[in-house]
Structure formats: C-alpha cells, structure tokens
C-alpha cells in the first residue's frame, strides 16, 4: 500500500508542532520545511532559502497537531478535494491509480475521471479492472470526455486537479480552463521527461532545455500562465502492479522461456525505471505542500538509473534464472527500434533533484527487490506459461548469424 514517505512523519519531531504554529505561517507549509530538513541528514537552514516568498505571507488559522500521532492521516490537516483526469491506456495510466489510493489513504477526497467509456474494452485491463479498490477506499470513479468535463462533473468543485491524460494543449486546455473557471486552486500536470533535449551531459535536471515543439511544453507554459499554483511532473518508465504497459514483463517473457534478450546498441544506455509508488508519493507531497510545490517542474523519477544490460540482469536475478544478452544495431538489422525494444535506444536519464530539494521527497524504488515482487506476480497470473511469438526477436537473431562485413 502506498504511503507517504517517512520524511513527512518527521514533522512531529519539530518542537513547534506541540503548540499553535506562528499564525503568520501556513502550518502545512512550515512543517514541510522541517520535514524536508530532517530527511536523511539535510540541514534545516539550507532549505529555508528555497521556499517561495508567498508561503510566508499566507496566514492560516493555526491548528493543533497531535505529537503522539505518527499516522499519515494526521499530517494532512488540510483535506483536499482532488480530481484526477486519467488516461485510459499507456504507461502513465497506473499513476492515477496509485495516486488516488494514496490520497484516499491520507484522508483526502478523490474523484478519478477516466477518459472514454466505462464499458470499453480498455477498462478490462489493469489498473482499470482494479478500480473497485478506489471505490472501496472511498473514492469516486467516473468516465467521460475531457472536452465535456464541465458536464461530466456538473456541480462538483475541487481544490486540486491532476491532468494525467493530455500530451498537448488541445487535450489539456478544456480541463485547465474548466478547472480555472470552477475555482480549482492547484493544477498539476503529468508531463514527460521525454521532452528534454538529448544531451551529452546527463542527467536531465529541471531547468534544462526542452524540445520547444513538444506538446507537453505547450501545456506547461499554459498552466503556468493561468494558475498561480501549478506544478508539472516529468516521469520516465514505471514498474508496479497494475501497470497498463509492459516494462519488466518484456524481459521476463524472454528470460523465462530461455530465449536470448536482444538489446539494441551497447547495452550501456542508462534509463530510469521507477516504482510507481514513488511517483505517487511525489504527487501527494505536492498536494500537501502546495505552496512549496507551486511554480515548479519536477522530474518524476527515482534517483537511480539502470543500464539496459543491467535491467536484463536484474530481471534474470529476480527470476532466479540465467540470461543471455545479445546486442544488435536496429538499423543494420532493419527493425523499428521502437517495436523491437520497450525503452529508448539512447541515454534517457533524469534525476529528481527538485523534488528532493523543494519537497524533501525521497524515493523508495529498489529495483532488485521490486523486480522480485513483479516476477512473483508475473508467474502468479500465469504469464510465464502463455504461448508467445517473438517475430521481431527472431528477425534480429537471424540477422546476427550473418557475418558482418568489415
């Protein structure tokens, strides 16, 4: 079960929490400052300069916080009404699922609006086929078209909206405009680390140049203009139960069948594969520390990258099986790199520096351990026994038997 990262619990060790915090400071924001400072061995004063001026001038009625309660629920003294507009397919679909459950676990109100129709075939796949978990936790699920969001959610108001659907302004504008007009205070957007311009000086850090024509860039610009409290999250690849898109499964499929794993290029390419619970915890921190998060871009990834070869090896280790890695040049073989392999054939490596610095967030992804769990589920659902074809693989392996002319 996704929970808020433990650094938030350290809020209660701050002496100011026993009494009313100074009225001139928003309690959630101020305490998040100290939670940031007590995570790992960060020094408190090093964060004081990075918080926006606005947080200091926003008075909030002081609240009594129980020192004895370390429960996550008590932190969210500010209960929020959150709307998640969720894509109905693809790698990002699972983000909304985890985020909804984590928010509900923290005592917030959650509605998740999935694009399309409840009766569509897409809803038979994870995470949608597990939406009863959201309902069971007190959340609401609706379906609809984002361009008609006003009708779908008629009469309902929210404090926070997360758009986990649109890849360009055409898709997001209707949601953003409706949110603005209906008084939504905080607008969050799931963007993509894919918009960073490729570099020979990794990693991608927040503030680095992005591809100007990327759809997500247009969205980030727009929401920054119309919302005073906004944040954008740029994820990469995810692993986790309920994923709508294959990640580690691609490796398991081959390893468990004793097939070679064809990896394009040198296999040294680095990428970020994060457990989706980390994305969820980052988003939740942003909701609960909205003034700290405001106006920022966050790379929504864990703080470790893995090589492509390394991922194959870790999957094999998780399965307790050997692996044979074969490298190839997609162009030379004549295959479409995107269809042949689930990850980009290049360094694709971002670090979550803003989240660590500004939100005091810490990742928990531990690929070696997480992949063991993933493998258990892989076997449990019987996918290891499922008959499969590997046409592209076969083409690659066939071509590699041909001697390469010097």
């Amino acid at each position: 079960m996704a929970t808020l990262h433990s650094s938030s619990c350290l809020l209660f060790t701050s002496p100011t929490s026993t009494h009313h915090p100074p009225p001139s400071l928003s309690p959630t924001s101020r305490l998040s400052l100290y939670s940031a400072s007590t995570s790992t061995s960060a020094s408190s004063h090093s964060f004081s300069l990075s918080i926006s001026p606005s947080f200091l001038t926003r008075p909030k009625s002081s609240r009594r916080l129980s020192l004895s309660s370390f429960k996550v629920k008590a932190i969210a003294a500010d209960k929020k009404k959150v709307l998640i507009v969720n894509t109905n397919s693809g790698g990002h679909a699972v983000i909304g699922f985890y985020f909804a459950k984590e928010l509900l676990g923290s005592g917030h109100e959650v509605t998740i609006m999935t694009v399309g129709e409840e009766s569509s075939d897409k809803m038979k796949k994870p995470p949608f086929n597990r939406f009863s978990e959201i309902v069971g936790a007190g959340g609401k699920t609706v379906w609809g078209d984002p361009t008609e969001i006003g009708k779908v959610l008629e009469g309902v108001t929210f404090d926070v909206v997360l758009d986990n659907n649109g890849k360009d302004l055409d898709a997001v504008r209707p949601v953003a405009d409706w949110a603005k007009s209906s008084g939504v205070k905080q607008f969050l957007f799931i963007s993509s680390a894919g918009i960073y311009k490729s570099t020979e000086e990794p990693p991608h850090v927040e503030g680095d140049v992005v591809k100007a024509d990327a759809g997500h860039v247009g969205v980030e610009k727009y929401i920054s203009e119309i919302f005073s409290s906004w944040a954008s999250f740029r994820p990469q690849y995810m692993t986790g139960s309920g994923n709508n898109k294959d990640c580690e499964e691609w490796f398991f499929d081959r390893i468990v069948r004793g097939r070679p794993v064809p990896i394009p290029g040198s296999g040294m390419q680095l990428t970020n594969i994060s457990h989706v619970r980390d994305l969820s915890s980052m988003l939740t921190l942003a909701v609960e520390n909205s003034s700290a998060a405001s106006g920022n871009i966050f790379n929504c990834v864990s703080d470790r990258a893995v090589t492509l070869d390394g991922m194959a090896k870790l999957c094999a280790k998780a399965a307790g099986l050997p692996v044979e890695i074969v490298h190839y040049d997609p162009k030379a073989v004549g295959v479409d790199a995107k269809k042949a392999f689930p990850f980009r054939n290049m360094h694709f490596y971002a670090e979550p520096r803003a989240a660590k610095d500004i939100l005091g967030w810490q990742p928990s992804t531990n690929l070696p351990e997480d992949l063991k769990e993933r493998y258990e589920e892989y076997v449990k659902i019987g996918r290891d026994k499922k008959p499969m074809k590997f046409e592209v693989d076969d083409k690659i392996l066939e071509s590699l038997k041909v001697p390469v002319a010097v």
Binding site: T40, S41, A42, S43, S46, L49, S50, S52, P53, T199, E200, E201, P202, P203, V205, E206, G207, D208, V210, E220, K221, S224, E225, G265, S266, M268, Q269, L270, G295, N296, I297, D303, R304, A305, V306, T307, D309, G310, M311, K313, L314, H347, E351, R353, A354, K356, D357, I358, L367, V406
Partner: protein, 379 residues
Amino acid sequence: MARLVLHHKQPSFSLLPASSLSDFHATRFTSTSFQYKRKVWQPKGGLRVTALSSKKILIMGGTRFIGLFLSRLLVKEGHEVTLFTRGKAPITQQLPGETDTDYADFSSKILHLKGDRKDYDFVKTSLSARGFDVVYDINGREAEEVEPILDALPKLEQYIYCSSAGVYLKSDLLPHFETDAVDPKSRHKGKLETESLLESRDVNYTSIRPVYIYGPLNYNPVEEWFFHRLKAGRPIPIPNSGIQITQLGHVKDLATAFIKVLGNEKASKQVFNISGDKYVTFAGLAKACAKAAGFPEPEIIHYNPKEFDFGKKKAFPFRDQHFFASVDKAKSVLGWKPEFDLVGGLADSYNLDFGRGTFRKEADFFTDDMILGKSLVLT
C-alpha cells in the same frame, strides 16, 4: 593568532529574481544549469565563508594540485598552515593568474615540516612536538600511514581525508551514493581501509570521495590528454561506444568542499562525494574540451580495446565503464555546490595551464597510432 571575521555568505542557495516566476522554463529550484557562465575564482574576493576561530592545520602533502588551492584558502582564512612533505617539490609555487602580492603573502605565511610520512617514528614525534588542531590528509594511501598521526595528536579536532570514489563497487545502478557498497578489492582499497581505520579509532573524521579531478596544474593527464590531441589536430580515439558516462570535478570546487567541512559538525564522521554537478559521456567530454579550448569539434574514432595489446601504456585516461557519483549529500548537508560547469571549468584549466604552453606529460601518441593504424588497414 590572526583571525578573520568574514561576511557570512551562502554561495550555494540564491533566490531567483521574482520575475523568473512567470517564465515557465525557470523554476525556483536553484539548478546550476542556469549558471553556465565562466567563473573567475579568486581566493581573495570570491569566497566568503563563516568565520571560524583560527586553527593550527597540518596538510599531509599539499605542494601540488589540490593542496595548492586548499592551502591558499586556509591561509586566507587566517589559519596557521603547515605542509608535511619530503621537500622534493618546491614548497610554494606561484599559481597562474596569481598576483605577485598574493603569492608573496601566501609564501610568507605557509610553514613547512620536512619529512617522509612513511617514517612513522618521525611522524609521531614531530607531530606530537608541534601539536595540530586539524589534519588534512591529501596524499594518504594506506591505513597504516594514518596511525602515527592519530597517535601523535590525541586532541585532534578533525581528520579530513581525501579518499576516492574509486572505492565504490561497480554497479549497473547509478549514480553512486555514499551509502553504496564499496569494493574491498579495488585499486583504492588502501583508501577504504583508511576510512575504516578512522571510523574505528573514533576520531572526528570527514572523508571526501572525489571522482576525476581536473583544473589548472592537474598532474593526472585528464583534460591534458584531450588538449594534446586537439592541439595536434589528431582524432580522439575512444574505446567502444563512447557513451560511457564519467564525471569531472574542478579542483577549486573540491578545495571549497574541503573548506566547508572544516569545523563543521554536520561533517563529523561523514563521507561526501565531491565532483561536478553533471556527468558527461566520453564523446561529450572530447567535444567539451574542444569547445573550452576553442578548437573545432574533433573527429572521434571508436575502437575495441580487446583488439589491441597496449602493454603498460594507457590508451585512454578513464576507466572503460560508467563511473559517476551523486553529490546531492554534500549539496544538501554542507550547502556546497560546484561553481564550475564542465565547459567553463575546462576553459579555466586551458586558459591557466595548457593554453599557456604548460603541461605535465609530453604528448605520447603511440597507442593512438596503433589504433589509427589498424583502422586504416580495415578501410
């Protein structure tokens, strides 16, 4: 004893101007990616640190590279600094770009204790006779070298050790964090054993793990290796794919980190990775060197090292693997941050050293010619 009362300035965190809030490209996160400017690092004006009472400081080594910059910073802060060296190299040398006045001032203040650190009896007696508050161990390699120092100085306030990120166990999961597994069999195991000794002796120690250090007066041919080839108009031979990722840290940023940990409670019994804020691929580094020095973009030749027997010669200055470490801990705990970006730092090195006609090792293109010779045969 001289003591300086200095302005407290936190160079590492600065608020972006309010106008930047409306620019969605800018974030409130103070990333050094904004600061791609050439920095002129001056010990006199550019660095202000919290006032610390003057200490009696011993530097083991200190006559070349890191020590040159570190010793100047310490003297400027008003500490009494002694260099322990065999006296083989001159105790002081004027740095390129250093004014005569500054150099004279520094030379007049720096002290020298002549001896061989491997002569443990001498180390023990000479150090205990003088007494020191703080030791910076810049050239220590083996744990046994540290013991006589600790024995001689029971009231030592802090032992600051220059270790190495080379101690990390090679991994497919990167970057290296200070908590990562270390390799007891690595070439740098002496450094590891030294860290363990310091931990076990219950002394207040701080260990710094740099990655590849670069900057003016580097005696390890890192940037110099590229500059020689660029100057000669030769292609740059890079092993395998060239996408291996490494990391360079400017010597002046390293010196600043060494200052940051001095007398710092938060550094007590802590290990810190210190290097550049961003990493770089081998191919990217070749291009960055060219850019910094004003050469045209180089031709890069890739080769398979397994096809050659280079004997004892090194065909490339970096280990043929990914090798980089996160400096997040130093940034968040110490408030340190690297001032130099890669191209800026390489330019600093070029302008103050190689570009003036100085270097440590003569150009040697023997292995290059082996590689290029073979490539010619193939085409």
